[in-house]
């Protein structure tokens, strides 16, 4: 069960997910937040990180005086859960409604549309 997280926490998760290395260190997150224009106090970040650990998004390994953080929930997983929630909430579980809304609302570019079409066909072949 993936819990809800606040915007500030999502920012941090995005930095962790965006890190190509397997583990993320505290200064990396600090710098990432600063780069996104969301500078914060050290203690504030510590509090936010501990909240994420409590919610099961991160795990921390203490190496000396430094913490190494690892994401326990992947970006994909998070998106799927959030999308499903969004679907349930807005479209009452109907993906068709969502897609038709995307097309009708001109929210998709032609390229994106072509890509999606290709993905659908690949899915059919698999079945």
């Amino acid at each position: 069960m993936v819990q809800q997280i606040s915007d500030a926490e999502l920012e941090i998760m995005k930095i962790v997910w965006g890190n190509p290395e397997k583990v993320t260190r505290f200064p990396y997150i600090m710098d990432g937040l600063a780069a996104r224009g969301r500078q914060c106090q050290k203690n504030t970040l510590i509090v936010l990180l501990s909240r994420l650990m409590n919610k099961g998004f991160l795990s921390a390994r203490k190496i000396g005086r430094r913490n190494e953080y690892t994401a326990l929930v992947s970006e994909n997983e998070y998106q799927t859960v959030q999308t499903k929630k969004f679907l349930d909430k807005i479209y009452e579980g109907s993906a068709k409604g969502l897609v038709s809304n995307l097309i009708m609302g001109d929210l998709l570019t032609d390229e994106e549309y072509g890509e999606l079409k290709g993905m659908l066909e690949k899915g059919k072949e698999k079945q």
């Binding site: 606040s6 500030a8 926490e9 203690n43 504030t44 509090v47």
Partner: protein, 823 residues
């Protein structure tokens, strides 16, 4: 377990002294001394209340010691005991005595006896009082814990973490300023009314709502952070536990309230010290704002809130406005105060067990002035002394057998008991009820009887026992003296507290017999001595004549666990003979029917082989008392054999003792009686008859009447209480006999005139002689006025054959016979 409570009470007491000192000090120094100090000084008191450590010499230890002594001194003694202690010498003693006898003779003793059960309940309660304390303390602790838990659940239920990074940053900055390294969590809970801090290790500040003005935020957060920094939660927790454990002490509860106040005051002080006193007004406003939304839940337990209540807030505002940095003088004063309190706490100390042990005072011989004196005189009777439920001397006994005189005048109580009949069967013991009080002089006298007494716990006992079996038990805590002389018989003295605080001397001036005594008595010639403790209670016992004496400690007479240890203890004394179980147990319990705690089987005299070998010795040595004690313990067959042997020896005294020693079932006797009857041993038969019931006696009487056995008839009539009947019968028989006799004489030609003069053939008879067969019976009548001497002649069948004149030679022979004894 009461010891723990004792220590707790003492801690509570010394803590209370400190609390009072601090509260008093606070009145004068409230605004001058640092609030911080006022807060933390309570910690000294709390530690004093919780931990029983202190230096060896402590004020409280001393007082407790004194109190303990007072208790031990007064408890066992009656109230009147106190006054003579202050009156010196013997001059004033009689005054005290008369005062009491004039005033109310029985009231002091009455108080004592009635106070006894109450005392017992009292001790029972005090024994269990720690349980009450413990249960209440535990209940309170559990209650506090559950309240705290439910409060935490309540807080956590509506808890949402503040996700606004801006606010979080402000918190972080304030925390850094306050010097708090550990990051604090910040949450919002709309259920609470004022900001508070939860969590012992991971601090979490909970705000009622997120939109707090930028100005107020740092104050609020700083206040809570300082609570966290100072670990006020732990302090509060400690105080709560203390209050639960000392629930009985209102001062501790007062202290708990005082600490809560001091906590907020000192926290305010710390906030202002951090922010600078110039910000006092802003801080005060913040407090007022927080106050505005007060009171949805009582949050002040287990958490540290910003505002407690209105009254406290007012004071806090006042204090905030007066805030000033402490001066040097105040700092010095504070230091002095601190030293005083800490030293006070240390030396107030606690009551420790070690002190209590040292407290036992040497007991002295009791002053018996004003106590009742008792004189008990037992003669040929079995007496069991028991405790009277009222304050009166009374006795239950068989009025046909015993005479009991009781005189209970003023403080001079006398009881004399004797036996109406010469033969006393001991199976009817007298129950003598004596008031269970402290006595003055006690005189015990027993002649040829049984006496058991375990009642006298205080007094000067003088005992004179002669051919008696006396079982004297000194109860625990006996104070007084014993001077007893046992002349033959059996005397047993049991000290329930093992001759504690006594100087005991045993003197053996007797011939045959033995003295059994504890092994730790020192023997020297014919005396043995033992001294313990103060040695104030003088016990002197002297053995005279032939008999057995035994002095025993309580261990030896504990029916539940006497076996192996005291078997060994007495082995040496037992002249190398194998130990006989129960022997002494039974001898001392024989008459003690009151002791129902032991089972019936225990009290039933068990008959052992040892008894039969002993009895031989006792019989040979002619020790009647020992024989008397041992005989009932023999098997029935043996008893019969012994009776036969004694009968053959013609020893009436032992026979009588033996017969009395038989069980009430007298089937044994019946067979035996036949033999005795046939031998016409009237003395022995009389002893047997003592044990017979009425029907049995009637049976023998009938038989005696049938046989014309006059002596037996007379004795049996006597036993049956029918002497009159016998006399009547006798007179009647005599008359009848005389009439038939006269008829016979008349047939032979002898007539009687005026009932005194015989006539034969018209002449008055001088000598009239009628000798019946075998000389068993004869009639001789002499009348100086007579002129002839006649003699009745009888045939082989004892019938009168005729009358003959006596010759001169015959007369001379007869008169010579009669004269002879005169020579």
């Amino acid at each position: 377990m009461n010891a723990v409570l004792k220590i707790f009470l003492s801690m509570s007491f010394s803590g209370s002294l400190l609390i009072l000192a601090l509260l008093l000090g606070k009145r004068f120094l409230k605004d001058k001394i640092s609030r911080q100090w006022q807060y933390y000084i309570w910690l000294v008191v709390v530690l004093r209340l919780l931990f029983p450590f202190g230096p060896e010499v402590s004020l409280l230890g001393k007082t407790y010691q004194a109190v303990d002594q007072a208790i031990t001194r007064t408890a066992p003694l009656p109230p009147q005991q106190q006054s003579p202690l202050t009156t010196p010498g013997g001059n004033s003693a009689p005054v005290v005595g008369t005062e009491q006898s004039n005033g109310s003779m029985s009231s002091p003793t009455e108080d004592l006896t009635t106070a006894h059960p109450i005392q017992e309940i009292g001790t029972l309660l005090t024994d269990q009082v720690w349980l009450i304390w413990f249960v209440v303390a535990l209940t309170l602790l559990i209650r506090k814990a559950t309240i705290y838990q439910s409060f935490m659940r309540y807080i956590k239920a509506g808890l949402t973490p503040v996700s606004d990074i801006e606010i979080l940053d402000r918190l972080s900055i304030t925390a850094e300023q306050a010097g708090i390294k550990r990051p604090a969590e910040l949450c919002v809970n709309p259920l609470i009314s004022s900001p508070l801090l939860i969590g012992f290790f991971h601090p979490c500040i909970v705000l009622p709502n997120a939109d707090i003005s930028e100005k107020a935020f740092p104050y609020i957060v700083l206040h809570e952070l300082i609570h966290y920094k100072r670990r006020d939660m732990f302090y509060k927790c400690l105080v709560q536990i203390t209050a639960c454990l000392h629930w009985f002490n209102p001062l501790v509860h007062l202290m708990s309230r005082e600490i809560t106040r001091a906590c907020e005051f000192s926290c305010d002080e710390a906030v202002l010290a951090k922010m600078g006193s110039g910000n006092a007004q802003d801080y005060g406003e913040t407090l007022l704002d927080a106050m505005a939304a007060v009171g949805k839940y009582r949050e002040n337990l287990g958490s540290v809130t910003l505002s407690e209540n209105k009254k406290l807030l007012k004071e806090r505002l006042g204090a905030i406005m007066k805030f000033q940095k402490t001066s040097r003088a105040v700092k010095l004063l504070t230091a002095v105060w601190t030293v005083c309190i800490v030293l006070g706490a240390a030396f107030a100390g606690v009551y420790t067990e070690g002190n209590a042990n040292a407290a036992s005072l040497p007991s002295t011989t009791p002053d018996t002035t004003g106590r009742p004196s008792l004189s008990l005189d037992v003669s040929s009777a079995a007496v069991n002394v028991r405790a009277a439920t009222d304050n009166q001397i009374s006795a239950e006994y068989n009025r046909d057998v015993y005479t009991v005189n009781i005189s209970q005048q003023n403080r001079d109580w006398k009881v004399s008991i004797s036996c109406k009949t010469s033969m006393n069967t001991h199976d009817e013991a007298i129950r003598l009820y004596l008031p269970n009080v402290d006595y003055g002089d006690v005189k015990l006298k027993a002649d040829n009887g049984y006496l058991t007494c375990g009642l006298i716990r205080s007094g000067h006992i003088v005992g004179n026992f002669n051919m008696a079996s006396v079982f004297l038990t000194l109860p625990e805590g006996f104070s007084g003296s014993v001077n007893a002389i046992a002349n033959s018989g059996y005397f047993q003295l049991v000290s329930r507290d093992d001759f504690k605080n006594t100087t005991t001397t045993i003197t053996d001036n007797g011939d045959w017999g033995e003295i059994y005594k504890p092994t730790n008595f020192k023997e020297n010639g014919n005396t043995s001595t033992y001294t313990d403790g103060t040695g104030a209670n003088i016990i002197q016992v002297t053995r005279k004549g032939s008999g057995v004496m035994g002095l025993y400690t309580s261990d030896d007479f504990d029916t539940s666990n006497y076996p192996d240890e005291w078997k060994e203890l007495w082995q040496d004394e037992w002249q190398g003979k194998p130990w006989e179980d129960d022997w002494w147990q039974n001898t001392w319990q024989e008459e003690d029917t009151e002791d129902t705690s032991s089972t019936a089987a225990d009290r039933q005299p068990t008959k052992t082989d040892g008894a039969s070998s002993d009895i031989e010795q006792y019989y040979q040595e002619g020790s009647l008392p020992m024989f008397q004690i041992t005989f009932p313990r023999l098997e029935e067959e043996e008893q019969l054999a012994w009776l036969e042997k004694i009968y053959a020896d013609g020893n009436i005294a032992f026979f009588s003792v033996g017969v009395r020693g038989l069980d009430t079932d007298i089937s044994l006797i019946t067979g035996f009686a036949e033999k005795v009857y046939e031998n016409a041993d009237i003395a022995f038969f009389s002893t047997l008859a003592d044990c017979m019931d009425e029907t049995e006696l009637e049976f023998w009487l009938d038989r005696a009447l049938e046989d014309g056995n006059w002596a037996f008839q007379s004795m049996l009539f006597d036993k049956l209480g029918k002497e009159d009947e016998f006399n009547e019968l006798e007179a009647k028989k005599e008359k009848e006999w005389a009439e038939t006799q006269m008829a016979e004489y008349e047939a032979a030609g002898v007539t009687m005139v005026d009932e005194k003069t015989y006539y034969y053939q018209g002449q008055p008879v001088n000598i009239f002689l009628d000798i019946r067969k075998e000389g068993s019976f004869y009639t001789l009548n002499m009348n100086p006025a007579g002129t002839v001497n006649i003699r009745i002649t009888r045939g082989a069948d004892n019938k009168i054959t005729g009358v003959a004149y006596m010759t001169e030679a015959e007369v001379a022979e007869l008169l010579g016979d009669m004269d002879e004894p005169d020579d």
